[in-house]
Symmetry: C2
Subunit: 429 residues, 2 copies
């Protein structure tokens, strides 16, 4: 596949720091506002937020066949509904506009002023209105680790796990953009050895290192998406911190799954990295020969992506620590399999739906994607640079997740998803 | 509480059949379209759909203090956001307009023509945009029955069940209005005694008899709704058929809960019966003394509603049969407890969110709210009038649910939620 915007030799006339997640080869999509102005559709190069709304006003997209009203919305949903050819054409055009040798915008100070903003001076918001949010559970290592701790070490993986990408519905209303703090939840839990639950602030607030893909309009209700066609309905990816309260979860989750343990907040990174930008980093996923999945889930070729992931716990006013280094390529079930499975019963998937990967744990102890696994249920505290320890997340800690791909001297990153845990709000408040 | 529109002696100048669900004391809210015209906000009296948009154009609400733009939307969400005082004022005003002795609209043929339509000549659609859908599991009889069949008859009720209203997130995208058919889903299931799953059309498609309440903007993220305040954030109720594929469910539901077994379709009735209209039917719910719930769930007074419920299986071109008669008052956990629990961790609940009750089963065998229970896992087939039997729902059967309250000669009903099960769509389609 030849995607001009992916050319590793491209340089931009905008300054891009060498370690930036956002070289001209990335060109993610997002929405932002400048001061008190309305939200605009945008992209990012280096530390510059660029208004696509303004570029459209200036006529830069006028020969591209699409409904340009979608660039005046406050979310990407309508733009995503225009389809993959349009996303690709717009991204390739943005690449041309900012390519080092293109003078048109570069040498037009007045147009630049309408279009380009310092990213630190804008408010970057949720990129899409999320109609429905699904979270999968597709890391074999994570499911095994959790099964060992919560259930039976000898039969850690449940019988269905290798046959289907287990998933469940999450709550859309509390998905927040990077930067928004989350409060420690109150809830019920069952103290060890007790039979009566207690109520209070969760004592085991955890992160879950995940990615998520954002879908296009994939089907109509009753119809389905084949595994071979699934990737064409994916717009792009973000990082996801699926905040979890382990003590609440352990008590509430049978038989209908996690509920209040999850829906107090989920944080995502705000710049959606397109599947086109990730294409050079396509790679194999783990073998699925034993057992082979049912035919509707069988895939040939490479359908994972080599995305380096990292989690940092940053206490307030103290030195932080990287507690996990993982990689998306460890995931057993691919995103295409997740989407094919999700729709095989006719379930409707629409533009802006969010599909979380599930916690991404790798094979080594430093690649586990949650404190539950890293501290092994609280048994092995992690030492912080100041000498304090963590089994779970403490009040005022900020959890920062980073993700990037790297190849041929090009680094395509997601920016951070960063959010601080604030203390529980007392019940009488 | 004195709600003028609830006066049992009121009569309307519109004709209302004696057994109608929609006397002048009901005045539910919904949305409908006439032929190809835009959707309008409406109410229903007898077999007449009434445009509130048109009534507003004619000045009937002009002295009520609210943003009347909300009556020009295509869903009730913005109207609901106006708050309980506004819903009440509008409902009371509608009652005045249609009261037998009020000549203003009654004697104005031209205005009547703009306002009043035969309900059979309009398209009634989903009343709200459902941002998030939660389904609870609050019938003790249902949870016990399912626990006996799926898990352990000796310990049917799981340890958490009497301490919290168990709930989980559902899928909003496939909630459809009454009248829209649903296809039998394809999916994986594990045949009895086997270790490898098979793929194909579900063989155990079931209904679940539920009600649901539609919320107002209840809180901001991080904040919570107390159990005493919860009812003021409920707009009204509808009937819900939570279609379920039992064979898919049994295989997929551990450990994260039902997913594809539920999200192929959920059907709701379209006229939202307000909590004000239900007020005369308030009644006690089952005692919660053993165990007493934790303080944040404790309530005094009556917080259930005496709503008669009924399920009919209607084969195509054949006589139908009532297979279940139940009542909402059997539910162990109240709607106020559900909403207080849902938000106790700070989860955001907004205008138009839908909260399902869970299957409503009563104490007797003919009051069980699903075929799973009525046929006891398929062991006791139900005989139909034509001599055929049902353990689960057959292709082309229509499932019809009805609900109504009755007191002092006034019947307040929900209309039907009716939907036909169509055959599975083959995979290569």
């Amino acid at each position: 596949m030849n995607i001009p915007a992916n050319n590793p030799s491209l340089k931009s006339w905008l300054e891009v720091a060498p370690a930036s997640d956002f070289p001209i080869q990335n060109i993610p999509f997002g929405v932002f506002s400048v001061e008190e102005d309305d939200l605009v559709i945008g992209t990012r190069i280096g530390d510059f937020a660029i208004s696509l709304t303004a570029l459209n006003d200036l006529g830069f997209f006028k020969d591209i066949d699409f409904d340009d009203n979608v660039l005046y919305d406050e979310t990407l949903n309508a733009f995503i509904s225009e389809g993959k050819e349009v996303w690709r054409a717009i991204r390739n055009r943005i690449s041309e506009i900012f390519e080092a040798n293109n003078p048109k915008l570069r040498d037009d100070a007045k147009s630049r002023e309408l279009t380009i903003f310092n990213v630190n001076e804008v408010n970057v918001e949720l990129p899409v209105f999320i109609g429905d949010y699904t979270d999968f559970y597709s890391s074999r290592e994570h499911a095994t680790n959790v099964g060992m701790m919560f259930r039976d070490p000898a039969n850690a993986l449940l019988p269905n796990w290798l046959h289907l990408p287990v998933g469940y519905h999450g709550r859309s209303s509390t998905i927040v953009p990077s930067g928004v703090p989350v409060n420690r939840p109150l809830g019920q839990s069952l103290p060890k050895g007790e039979t009566q639950p207690v109520f209070g602030p969760s004592k085991r607030v955890d992160f879950e290192l995940e990615t998520a893909f954002i879908t296009a309009d994939a089907n109509v209700m009753g119809d389905r998406v084949s595994v071979d066609d699934a990737e064409s309905h994916m717009f792009g990816m973000v990082l996801l911190n699926d905040w979890s309260a382990r003590d609440i979860q352990a008590w509430e989750y049978v038989p209908l799954g996690p509920f209040l343990a999850k829906n107090f907040g989920s944080s995502i990174s705000c710049w959606v990295v397109t599947m086109d930008a990730l294409e050079p980093f396509r790679c194999a996923s783990p073998s699925q020969e034993d057992p082979k999945p049912l035919p509707y889930l069988q895939q040939k070729g490479d359908h994972s992506f080599d995305i380096n992931l990292e989690v940092i716990i940053q206490p307030e006013d103290k030195e932080g620590k990287t507690v996990c280094k993982s990689n998306f390529k460890y995931m057993y079930w691919t995103m295409a399999q997740q989407l094919a499975h999700h729709t095989v019963n006719g379930c409707l998937v629409s533009s802006g739906d969010l599909m979380g990967s599930g916690t991404i744990s790798g094979p080594t102890k430093d690649s586990f994607g949650s404190m539950l696994e890293l501290s092994w249920g609280g048994q092995n505290p992690i030492e912080m640079p100041d000498g304090s320890t963590r089994t779970f997340i403490e009040d005022y800690d900020t959890v920062i997740m980073k993700g990037y791909c790297e190849k041929d001297g090009v680094r395509i990153g997601f920016g951070d998803v960063s959010s601080q845990l604030l203390p529980a709000v007392p019940l009488d408040n």
